[in-house]
């Protein structure tokens, strides 16, 4: 489902980062770990199309997203990629339900309710984000990530702010949602608790600068 080929990235004024090739199928999960500052989040943003690779190819399904125009890339990301961040970002003036449906490609209220039901936040849909606990916010973020039935779910340190109980719950939800949506799941983390939950993992080398 997702394949990377020899991708490189360079921050302005620093050296080239080479990333290892990745390959992952639908309904599978891949853990990318490594020390802080080794480029984990950068890799995730390259996969999400939030940054552009200097060279190399990123394939999602049969689409080479590394060569899409900016407009097509924004559309592709909105329709096919769901992202869960370390912190839960919401539009604070909107209710949880509206936040789930915030994507310009999200139309279906019933699907939002189904997903909320599955993630056990159906009672929170008319509350505002600030009224939710950290665990509840993270569930809502996962719900928003899968609202459009993505091909790829990306998670950036989804558990680092959570206690053990919530950590286990969130990672299980992510795995379940990947299966339910027929999507590939890539988690970037330095949280060793996750290694017991996900079999496939890649360790990034620390940057030598």
């Amino acid at each position: 489902m997702v394949q990377t080929n020899n991708i490189k990235y360079r921050y302005p004024g620093s050296g080239m980062i080479n990333f290892p090739d990745l390959e992952i199928k639908a309904r599978q999960a891949l853990l990318i770990s490594g020390e802080s500052g080794c480029g984990k989040t950068t890799l995730l943003h390259l996969l999400a199309g939030l940054r552009r690779t200097v060279s190399g190819r990123v394939l999602v399904g049969s689409d080479e997203i590394s060569s899409l125009s900016p407009a097509k890339l924004d559309r592709y990301r909105g329709q096919n990629i769901g992202i869960v961040y370390q912190q839960s970002y919401f539009i604070e003036s909107l209710t949880i339900l509206d936040n789930l449906l915030v994507s310009p490609y999200a139309r279906d209220k019933n699907r939002a309710r189904q997903i909320a039901d599955r993630l056990n936040i159906e009672g929170l849909l008319h509350r505002y984000p600030k009224k939710l606990s950290v665990g509840q916010q993270q569930r809502a973020t996962i719900a928003r990530a899968v609202i459009n039935g993505p091909k790829l779910i990306l998670a950036d340190e989804p558990t680092s702010a959570l206690d053990n109980k919530n950590c286990t719950q969130v990672i299980e939800l992510l795995l379940e949602e990947a299966v339910a949506n027929d999507a590939a799941l890539i988690i970037v983390t330095h949280d060793d608790r996750l290694k017991s939950e996900v079999k496939n993992w890649v360790e990034l080398e620390p940057l030598d600068n």
Binding site: T41, T42, H45, A48, L50, R51, P70, A71, D74, R75, R77, G78, Q79, I83, Y85, Q86, Q87, Y89, F90, I91, E92, S93, L94, D98, L101, V102, S103, P104, Y105, A106, R144, D156, E157
Partner: protein, 424 residues
Amino acid sequence: MLGKIAWKNITFKPLNTALCVSLLLFGVGIISLLLLIQHQLEQKFQRDLKNIDLVVGAKGSPLQLVLSAVYHLDAPTGNIKLDEARQIMDGPMVEEAIPLAYGDSYRGYRILGTTHDYIKKYDAQLASGAMFSDPMEAILGADVAENTGLEVGSVFLGTHGEVQEGHVHDNHPYTVVGILQKTNSVVDRLIQTNIESVWLVHSDHGHDHSAIDSIHAVELDFNHDHEHDHDHDHDHAEHVITADSMEITAILLQYKTKMSVLNMPRIINDQTKMQAVLPALEINRLFYMLGVGATTLKMIAGGIMFMAGFSVFFVLYSRLKERKYELALMRSVGYRPSHLFGLLVLEGLILAALGYVSGWLLSRVGIYFVNRQAESDFNMQFDFAWVPGEEWLLLLTFSVGVVSALLPAWQAMRMDVSSILSES
């Protein structure tokens, strides 16, 4: 969804919104009120001016003479002798001359002694009853009838002067013989009678029949264009005119050619005890003076609008820092940079629209209070309708909203989504 986000964001911080909207509200409100009053005042003054080329009255302030004789807004400058006035009225280039005699009122409405020509000039039609013909018969303007409750056949007493507490002429009751249709001109607020009535009320020998006879004689002169060939009462009329007792207040003149008007004021002002004024000139002068005041107020309001624009900018720009994560989030769920630009411009526009609508309402509330005052002080009413110029104000307000939002919108469009989302 973008519209919903914009609206929710604006209502989410009501204090910020209130600041922007209240500044816009006062700017728009003041300008709108000025436009309304200025436009309607000018329109009303132009309409009432009709084709009066020249006003002749007693010496004094020219503006006062015009305001009192044409618009019935001010006290008269004094009286003029009928025989002197007649020399001007009979001038060869005069197309039409309407004599006016006034000084009394009923419940604040001026009682105007004049001829039927006055009503014709303002195209007033009778709604009921008949025109006045005999002394002490009166016809009412539409507003007078409505506000005093007088009907055809009613009897009322005039009060000396323009104030309601003045001396009441209780020896000479007027009888209402007709009521005019609404004309939206000065006629609506006048009680008209013939000049003889006014003389009669103010003559010392009011019950004396000879006075009425003599007055009739003078009236004949008005109506028959000074035909001296009729025999009856001729001596009597001469007697009255030379008696020096007959005075009128002003004459409204229309000339056959506009050129012949130009020299008249100088001739009359130099050679008689009267003054002649070109009303159009005086009214232009008045509006020029009012315009200076209105321009100052508009500049103040413009300053408020500028501050309002700045506050819209400030609110959007300062919120941009708080909102950078949610804007970055919007990008990550598929919105384009141009969407974010549009979102902020839309927020500026919504603020402007709120400001415009509330400012528009404020100006109408203002008119309501101005009306309550103007009604009793000047016998004037403004209406609430849209006036020309307000469309420019609408455009100006929206431009303020859009222009103030441009820089924040540009910044939102250009932000580095990836590095904002990598912050922890």
